[in-house]
Symmetry: C2
Subunit: 413 residues, 2 copies
Amino acid sequence: MYIAVMGCGVVGSGVVELIEKNGAQIAEKAGTDFVDVKYILDLRDFPDRPYGHKVVHDVNTIIDDPEVEIVVETMGGLTVAYNFVSKCLQAGKSVVTSNKELVAARGYDLLQLAKENSVSFLFEASVCGGIPAIHPLADCLGANQITEVAGILNGTTNFILTKMIRENMSFATALKMAQELGYAEADPTADVEGLDACRKICILASLAYGTHVSPVEVHTEGITKITLEDVEYAEDHGCVIKLLGRAKLVEDDKIFIMVSPALVNKTSPLSSVDDVFNALFVRGDAVGDVMFYGRGAGKFPTASAVVADVMDCIRLGKNTKIGYTWGPHADCRIADYKQTETCLYVRGFAKDKQAALVALREGFGHIETLSRKDAPENEIAFITPLMPEGDLREVLLNTKNFAEASVIRVTDY
Amino acid sequence: MYIAVMGCGVVGSGVVELIEKNGAQIAEKAGTDFVDVKYILDLRDFPDRPYGHKVVHDVNTIIDDPEVEIVVETMGGLTVAYNFVSKCLQAGKSVVTSNKELVAARGYDLLQLAKENSVSFLFEASVCGGIPAIHPLADCLGANQITEVAGILNGTTNFILTKMIRENMSFATALKMAQELGYAEADPTADVEGLDACRKICILASLAYGTHVSPVEVHTEGITKITLEDVEYAEDHGCVIKLLGRAKLVEDDKIFIMVSPALVNKTSPLSSVDDVFNALFVRGDAVGDVMFYGRGAGKFPTASAVVADVMDCIRLGKNTKIGYTWGPHADCRIADYKQTETCLYVRGFAKDKQAALVALREGFGHIETLSRKDAPENEIAFITPLMPEGDLREVLLNTKNFAEASVIRVTDY
């Protein structure tokens, strides 16, 4: 079976090299005689690499070659990737992608296009890199109603938070270290502001709840405002702070979906997912809680997921019943997160601490105050009761003589 | 699509009830009009249950009905189950089982029989209950050479060890509590002696390394000899004691496979898998380390895995390329564990402690001594260097004036 790889960056070259290394086993397990990369599409040439002679610059070379039945898209980006992937699907080729931006933005359209052309469109590598996530969620847990999915979906921010929690490093210092180690880009916005995690939770929510969810619909907060004071107070509450993508079914079949920092209890398996590791937590009505853990990025972990999808395409042939599917965007399917119940962790300052505490207790009914070593005299930190987030925010707004500095949601796992 | 369920115990009734509850979604995701249980085979009648009218007592009712294309085996045991499953496969029906004893003993034969009859034989539920384990290992990580698999594969023993570690409870008390809670059988031998975990690691090793591995070939130790003293010393070494099933590729393409208690470092994700939860850790050449976590037993978690396999059978139809496969038993494929390198934790007693320490240091070259509060004067505990286990045992045997009380292997994860 001949395949083509579009985009010879980190992941694309990983795919080529992994097929070169484990090709015999890959072919045997997929039930075919051989798996070989026939073309590598890239703007650049790679004359010094062993696969340099396979490089082409025109996508039509791939599209027009009937021997190529499966195309891997590892270019990234939206416009050109969408254009090329559409053409491949229309030409009757199955497509495997690691491009989360593409799937989050145009997943529904591309799944439809694949269906119309009786081919597969698979994207295991778009979420959690090498960790099996899409496949287990869609297939292995297919008998379940998925109550909730939550994940540590971005390795860069998890590395930064781990350094803050374990080594008392400031956000700025930890970010600098992440950049030096190559975990964070020179412009770290997409990671630290939660945009990358947002794309991934959109894909997971679309899959779990059957409606295309776009990143623009999702309330997204990053980790830039997290301080070491918050880390200390979380510790006092038996928690660590993690950047979570979360989606769950709420009233009226609506979807609660959000990316934000959250306090995670140390008894939760998510709490011990450290450094650049990712994890996906799934709650199903039959299976209960399950979690998948591993490296969410990197050349060979991501290539591992891409090649697994290629093997699935080979096995399935034209039997596309196994392909994932979800419906189009639906107005009003996303719940207003302010109406969803949560507990909040709040840290702030009061000139008259005793008066502020009286007012906060009156406003919330009950608060659990937290403490840390060497806190300034006028600092207050506490956990609110469980209430709709909008109501909690209103109480905060109306509490006189208390100025909030940090507000972080508290999960029940 | 009509299916039949053989054995209406805990798991079997869970399968029937789960299909009743989520049937519409199950059918839609599997790409069929409906999924319905036509027959339930059991020796007993269940007149008070809503599915009581589906009960039959003769397996031939199922075998002779061409409408039944998939049969679920949840009877357990070996002889009758093998007989019935063989007949179903020969009759051209796909079979899904949760029966680890059956797969560990006869997996190769049944996979061959399925292949000959162009049907599927799937067994996701036989390992780690509801946690996707078989499917991710075989398919999602199919592009990898699997360097190692290790799992907390038995919930009963993990519950007991957790009580010993967290609450300083003795083995006997924790076992009694497990029995009272229904986690352990009246005769707990299969759990506490490691036999149940052994069946599961055999299935995982067969899948990962392509050769049928039988429980009789596997060195198996249970947890009955673990003491609270050992738990304390493990803590001093930054570890917890877990019952692990382990398999890895070693020299000459041989398989190291073992079930035994082991010291697991607290930095490992396996260390925080507590209570009745199970986890499977997989190390692949491309993906690195991944872990799958969840409930390894129970009515609905196990039914979740069984029904996922049923859905796979429906999707695949007569395309059996996706079915797992491994080769027959091979003489000499299992490595002698005494030739495999390990570190050992050793606890023992010496009349002349200083003399014994000198002798131990001389024998091993170097040891790392451990301490615990209120240890008796004559107690010694230490970690050996990394050496073939047989050599380590010989040094122990030859060290005069030291009587070992506990020996536990130390993992490198």
